[in-house]
């Protein structure tokens, strides 16, 4: 259990670092941070509202630690004040609407790419130097070097504009009423295909390579030879003995991969005008809606930390050496 507690404390510390960066950034910029933040909001917010807002965003009178305290309080109570762009809707509400969309496409893309990528990696390693390894490995590696924007754009053009197979904008058909019915869910899936495909195509290569390389190292282990010697079936050796172990170092690379996926999701959402956090981020950045940007940064960090923690749990489950 020591392992999980340690990891949890680490994520907490990482979260505090992220909050602190978030707190410090506007204050490190030249000029009055509050002025900068609300330069864009002129007209929407009346001067009378300003002092109350100022306190809400943590710009209270006093030295930095008082401000920091106020900021921490607003973060932990998730009371981040209204968005400038969508004034007076609170930031938390704006984000609450967009979050599920992003979780949906990034989560599906991650799972799909891990599954397909790892399986291909296993296959490539097992038949190292075979035609699949020679062809597929570099191909997906090169696809992984496409910027997310470019991949999304290419799919957008080919499958959206030219072939018109898939819708190219938003998370669902605006004519439909959102609800838990088959038509709507089907429509959401239909709209999600291209965004998810874009992310899968750029991240599959990473998993393939990680798994392949890890597997190749593993196949030279003595216990693999022993498993073959034991007369176990090929499948059993491949999965129970080799893949099961090879996946461990791959999981440790998950933190980097998640950061990569989040980055990809932002751009993919922008290209497909998908109603998630990335799109929101772009809108926020465009009008310099700092409360929104800061809150987005926080929520993204939280999601990533949670995903990392889940990966740790998985690791713990797969590797008995950590369970003491």
């Amino acid at each position: 259990m020591g392992f999980l507690v340690r990891r949890f404390l680490f994520y907490l510390a990482a979260f505090l670092v992220a909050i602190t960066v978030n707190f410090a950034l506007p204050r490190l910029m030249p000029g009055d941070p509050f002025e900068i933040m609300f330069a864009a909001a002129q007209g929407k917010i009346t001067p009378e509202q300003l002092p109350a807002l100022k306190a809400q965003y943590g710009f209270v009178e006093g030295p930095w630690y008082v401000q920091y305290g106020a900021y921490l309080k607003s973060v932990f109570t998730w009371d981040l004040g209204p968005s400038v762009l969508f004034f007076p809707t609170p930031v938390s509400e704006v984000i609450g609407y967009a979050l599920p969309w992003t979780l949906f496409i990034s989560g599906s893309a991650t799972l799909i790419s891990i599954l397909i990528g790892s399986l291909m990696g296993i296959y490539a390693a097992y038949h190292q130097g075979g035609w699949f390894d020679k062809l597929a490995s570099p191909t997906f590696l090169v696809l992984g070097a496409f910027p997310a924007v470019v991949m999304a754009m290419i799919l957008f053009y080919i499958f959206g504009l030219v072939l018109e197979w898939f819708p190219i904008s938003y998370g669902y058909d605006p004519d439909l009423d959102p609800g838990w019915n088959l038509t709507f869910i089907g429509n959401v899936l239909y709209h999600a295909i291209l965004p998810i495909l874009s992310m899968v195509l750029i991240s599959i290569g990473g998993w393939l390579f990680h798994m392949r390389n890890s597997m190749i190292h593993l196949l030279s282990e003595d216990y693999i030879r022993m498993a073959v010697g034991k007369g176990l079936s090929r499948r059993r050796v491949m999965f129970q003995y080799a893949a099961r172990n090879a996946i461990l170092p791959v999981i440790t690379a998950v933190s980097m991969a998640i950061a990569f996926i989040v980055g990809g999701a932002i751009f993919v959402e922008i290209v497909f005008n998908y109603p998630g956090l990335g799109n929101l981020m772009l809108k926020g950045v465009m009008v310099r809606d700092y409360p929104l940007i800061q809150a987005l940064m926080l929520i993204i960090v939280i999601c990533v930390l949670v995903a990392n923690f889940v990966a740790d749990l998985l690791y713990l489950w797969l590797d008995p050496r950590l369970r003491q």
Binding site: D222, M226, G229, G231, P320, R321
Partner: protein, 331 residues
């Protein structure tokens, strides 16, 4: 028919060659080896590090990996050539008839699978019994090698080196094989544990009656427990005889050197002389006898011609020009 040569031969290796296809050129790690293992005996195989012992052991069950190749030879087990078997037949022979205890047994257990599962999977892969029966059988085996069955659900990292070694031996015994190939089963262990395990092994051998091919470079150990000893140098068998003959009256100069570099537990005190020079470089082997450059009794012919392995007395083979073919003897 299936029992093959009824003369008591269980395994016959004929003219076996193993090459490693390296970037530059193939390296012959096992060179035309002929070796017969008799049913029920313990045959020792000794030689310096890198002489091809493990390579030979792997190739018996076709456990060699790229870039190793077996371009020539036969491995006749109970009258059937293992090298010619199809995948399925081979899979069934493995462990069921011949099992292997690998060098570095410490790394032979899958670190993320429990001992119980690693024992059961091999039983279930070959026997048509229920999981519960397999578990019971595994418990029984562990007990026999002196490990409490309570620890079955533990993982390899929770065992000490000696215990892991015993677990590996238990797994090797799981299907009651006719033959066990042991490749330096105790190298990683200290002497006390080594003796303990070897004693256990002899006890088990009496119970189960399997044949052992024991590979090691510890000649004193071999002298104690094996019936016959084969000496290997540069991928070739250079001498084969009974234990006493090899230990007390070695014929080949290389064997002699090997014996002299080991303190014999039972033998009288003597100056350890060892062998000068380095083992043969298989990438660039000399013509003739591989041992010639290091040999004190080297003659002209040794540098030109490779001496064949010949029978100098019944049951005693040497490959050395010091022991010419007996008159009228076959090539």
């Amino acid at each position: 028919m299936n029992q093959g040569s009824s003369t008591g031969t269980i395994l016959e290796i004929r003219n076996l060659c193993v090459d490693y296809l390296t970037e530059k050129k193939p390296v012959r790690a096992v060179d035309r080896v002929n070796l017969t293992v008799k049913r029920g005996e313990t045959l020792g195989l000794a030689g310096e590090s890198g002489c091809g012992k493990s390579t030979l052991a792997f190739s018996i069950l076709r456990l060699h990996k790229p870039p190793a190749l077996i371009p020539e030879g036969e491995v006749i087990f109970n009258g059937e050539d293992i090298l010619c078997m199809d995948e399925e037949r081979l899979r069934r022979i493995r462990w069921n008839d011949i099992s292997v205890v690998f060098q570095s047994a410490m790394n032979c257990l899958n670190p993320v699978v429990s001992i119980r599962d690693q024992m059961c999977d091999v039983i279930l892969a070959h026997r048509n019994i229920s999981k519960a029966d397999a578990v019971a059988q595994a418990a029984n085996l562990l007990e026999r090698v002196g490990i409490s069955p309570d620890r079955m659900n533990d993982y390899p990292h929770q065992f000490s080196g000696g215990m892991r070694q015993r677990v590996v031996i238990a797994i090797a015994l799981a299907l009651d094989p006719q033959m066990i190939i042991m490749d330096e089963p105790t190298t990683a262990l200290d002497v006390v544990v080594e003796r303990e395990i070897m004693a256990k092994l002899e006890e088990l051998k009496h119970q189960f009656g399997f044949t052992i091919l024991l590979i090691t470079h510890d000649l004193s150990l071999l002298g104690e427990i094996s019936d016959r000893i084969a000496i290997m140098y540069g991928g070739r068998i250079v001498e084969l005889a009974t234990s006493e003959q090899v230990i007390l009256d070695p014929k080949h100069p290389y064997t002699n050197g090997l014996i002299n570099s080991f303190p014999l537990l039972s033998g009288e005190k003597k100056v350890l002389s060892g062998i000068s020079g380095f083992p043969v470089n298989l990438w660039d082997p000399p013509p003739g006898c591989y041992f010639a450059p290091r040999c004190e009794a080297c003659m002209d012919i040794c540098k030109r011609e490779n001496p064949p392995l010949i029978e100098i007395e019944p049951g005693r083979q040497v490959a050395c020009h010091l022991f010419p073919t007996p008159e009228g003897g076959a090539e």
